[in-house]
């Protein structure tokens, strides 16, 4: 394999922001595109961001070779209700955050330890019973992963994650 084909076949993770009309079926179009063409979705978030102009923003984290990721972006741009597609990973620096709700059921020392770790991660306990906590942790995907991993031996019973939201650094809009 030549160096060039190696670069072409290297798989990378990309965070893509998509501005779409907030209308029925638009999410199905995007998801259908990924399933129909066999692209990966690692996470996908969507919410309305501009009520006046009826726009929603979708953040997709996907993996693929450079050629596949280019295809994904071009295929997204073909969809009629899609206005803008931006590959945050290659278009300059960006910030990305994810929120997770993590339920830990434990008593005694483990309970104390879970609170200590939560403190290190700046996670907040937002629900508490005598035998459980629900922590809210916010951060980059890796940080959320690390927190959840540390909770495992302490009585992790349930996790709910939002998936990644991301935005470019600096003054410019999407």
């Amino acid at each position: 394999m030549t160096a060039m084909t190696k670069i072409l076949e290297e798989t990378n993770r990309h965070t893509i922001s998509v501005l779409v009309d907030n209308e029925a079926g638009v999410l199905a179009r995007v998801i259908g595109l990924f399933s129909g063409r066999g692209y990966n979705i690692e996470s996908l978030t969507v919410a309305e961001v501009n009520r006046a102009e009826n726009l929603s923003r979708i953040t997709i984290v996907t993996t693929g070779t450079a050629m596949i990721v280019e295809q994904i972006k071009n295929q997204l741009r073909r969809l009629v209700p899609v206005h803008k597609v931006s590959d945050l990973t290659i278009e300059g620096p960006h910030v990305a955050r994810e929120l997770a709700l993590v339920k830990v059921a434990c008593t005694g020392d483990k309970r104390v330890e879970s609170l200590r770790i939560a403190d290190i991660f700046r996670a907040r306990a937002i629900d508490s019973t005598n035998e459980s906590f629900v922590f809210e942790v916010v951060g980059a995907t890796e940080k959320v992963d690390a927190f959840i991993k540390l909770m495992e031996p302490l009585g992790l019973v349930d996790v709910s994650r939002t998936g990644v939201v991301a935005i470019a650094r600096g003054p410019n809009p999407l």
Partner: protein, 588 residues
């Protein structure tokens, strides 16, 4: 507001269709669209062709669109009416044919209730349309219909579905004319001039160039095809066409190498393999064209001109892409060529043509003719010779006959060749021919068919007879699904699993039963008379030509093989290449 609320949804729909330039609707009525049919009954601006199956309505609209450059229009009812359009819509999507398909829907209050004849048609058609709409409020109706036509015809064309619940069609609302509708959908038309200049420079400096042109030129219009012809002739470079691009460049021009790909000519495929610069205009590096990708045109640089950015770098990485409409880009390319006074490298070009002429001398479309049995290639050659003075429109079904037609019928103009390229839909040809004949009532329209394909939409014979559409159906009847049989012979050890139809209708009697004319030829000597009689009759004709059942379509790039590994015919040594069988079996 109240004074505007004078029209019901059905009236608004028909008004919008008229304002969008629709002349004919291919359709089939049913419960959910009864109010629309009621309005159709009261007017005479829009003609309605009553098909016998909704799939045929879509193919007819495709034939209409492909032969006129306009948007085809379909009207069907909810549920089964709408689901029957799926094959047609997918076909139109694959071949970039502009259509608007209006489907009825149950009233909004019943949507989601599993009502009678309810189907989630926007859900079902999402992957097989360019875009689709569910109209929930009559206030949105005219805007959506206008936008549907705009989306269907702009950028890379394609089918658009508008799903209309029955209550929306019956409510009163205001009509909004197209001039007052602003769509946010604006695909690029002009190409980037820097990229165009770079492309022209690459073209001028090429030593072994080839133009590889496809259906995108036909979609761009007759002007684009003219500009292409002008540009190719200015350079003196060879030009090969895809299946969908036949007619974009005149077949009789010595610069034309004919079709390329799996059943393309030897000279076209070897020139693609050996070129140093490939200029792709409006083609999409389909697997039927490229053969094995890692051996595709190995020493070439590639320019790709396309209106759809997602076609670029999809299958084949290119060196330069120009995104935009072919007509605009070609116009700019010619301007740049003239302004910079480019000259081609005469010496290199002469050597390149000398090489191409050697490949041409192989005469790859040659076949052993017979005076006992009708060879399918012979039948098509005679059809071409005896009809070319009438500039006919040719449709095909899918299979061997389609490839022979593509090889042996010569197209000088765009829009005269209608075939199912991307999806490969058996049953496409007869309804497509119906649509072509509707658009061109005086023209000679021939559907070259196989006896298997034709039976997939044979019910449309009744439509032809009812609407007095004198389509000529030219069946190359070899008693087999010929292409399936050919692959079984070449790749599956001659095990002819289910490719032989032991029973066929008597096509002459069948024509008679429908009220059409049936003709038959069983010997080569009868072919000319049959064709002459067929084109003299002013009614639909089924011509049943009994052809050689064992004939295979050559030349052929076996699945998984490269352009320079073409098999020329049954005696070619390439046939015995070890490994080709197993590798080929996995591929389609």
């Amino acid at each position: 507001m109240a004074q505007h609320d004078t029209l019901n949804g059905a009236e608004i729909l028909l008004k919008a269709l008229v304002d969008q330039g629709v002349e004919v609707i291919f359709g089939y009525p049913g419960g959910a669209v009864l109010p629309i049919y009621d309005e159709l009954f009261k007017q005479n601006r829009l003609k309605h062709i009553l098909v016998r199956h909704e799939q045929a309505a879509v193919h007819a609209a495709e034939g209409y669109a492909r032969s006129t450059g306009k948007v085809g229009c379909v009207l069907v009812t909810s549920g089964p009416g709408a689901t029957n359009t799926i094959t047609g819509l997918t076909d139109a999507l694959m071949d970039s044919i502009p259509l608007v398909c209006i489907t009825g829907q149950v009233p909004t209050s019943l949507i989601g209730n599993d009502a009678f004849q309810e189907a989630d048609i926007t859900g079902i058609t999402r992957p097989c349309t360019k875009h689709n709409y569910l109209v929930k409020d009559v206030a949105d109706l005219s805007r959506i219909v206008h936008e549907a036509f705009h989306v269907a015809r702009s950028g890379r064309p394609g089918p658009v579905v508008v799903d209309l619940p029955k209550d929306v069609v019956q409510s009163k609302g205001e009509y909004v004319p197209p001039q007052r509708v602003k769509s946010k959908y604006k695909p690029p038309v002009k190409g980037d001039i820097k990229a165009i200049e770079k492309a022209v420079e690459m073209i001028a400096h090429a030593k072994r160039p080839i133009f590889y042109v496809g259906g995108g030129l036909i979609n761009s219009g007759a002007a684009a095809c003219q500009l292409l012809t002008q540009f190719v002739r200015m350079t003196g470079y060879p030009c090969t066409q895809t299946l969908m691009g036949l007619g974009a460049f005149p077949a009789s021009d010595p610069l034309s190498l004919g079709m390329l790909g799996m059943h393309g000519t030897y000279e076209a495929n070897l020139a693609m393999h050996g070129c140093d610069l490939m200029i792709n205009i409006g083609a999409r590096f389909d697997d039927r064209v490229t053969g094995r990708l890692n051996a595709f045109a190995p020493n070439s640089r590639k320019i790709h001109i396309d209106i759809d950015p997602s076609s670029v770098n999809k299958n084949v990485a290119v060196d330069l892409a120009v995104i935009g409409d072919a007509a605009h880009i070609l116009e700019d390319m010619i301007k740049v060529w003239k302004a910079k006074q480019y000259r081609v490298d005469d010496k290199a070009l002469k050597a390149w043509w000398a090489q191409i002429d050697q490949w041409r001398a192989v005469n790859c479309l040659h076949y052993e003719n017979s005076n006992k049995i009708i060879k399918p290639q012979y039948a098509i050659q005679r059809l071409y010779e005896l009809t070319k003075h009438r500039n006919p429109y040719i449709c095909t079904e899918v299979g061997q006959h389609q490839m022979w037609a593509a090889q042996h019928f010569k197209f000088e103009q765009p829009n005269h060749w209608m075939t199912s390229g991307g999806l490969g839909t058996m049953g496409y040809g007869l309804p497509a021919a119906m649509g072509v004949q509707t658009a061109h009532p005086e023209a000679l329209v021939v559907n070259i068919a196989g006896e298997s394909s034709i039976q997939m939409n044979i019910q449309e014979m009744a439509t032809l007879c009812q609407h007095k559409l004198p389509v000529k159906i030219f069946i190359l009847n070899n008693q087999y699904m010929g292409m399936v049989r050919q692959w079984q012979e070449l790749i599956h050890g001659g095990r002819y699993s289910e490719s032989h139809m032991e029973h066929h209708p008597d096509f002459v009697k069948l024509a008679d039963a429908y009220g059409a004319v049936g003709l038959r030829a069983t010997k080569p000597g009868e072919v000319d008379d049959l064709i002459k009689e067929m084109i003299a009759v002013d009614r639909p004709v089924i011509a049943d030509l009994r052809t050689d059942a064992s004939e295979n379509c050559f030349p052929m790039i076996m699945p998984g093989m490269a352009h320079n590994e073409m098999v020329l015919g049954p005696e070619d040594k390439g046939m015995e290449k070890p490994g080709s069988e197993e590798d080929g079996m996995v591929l389609v």
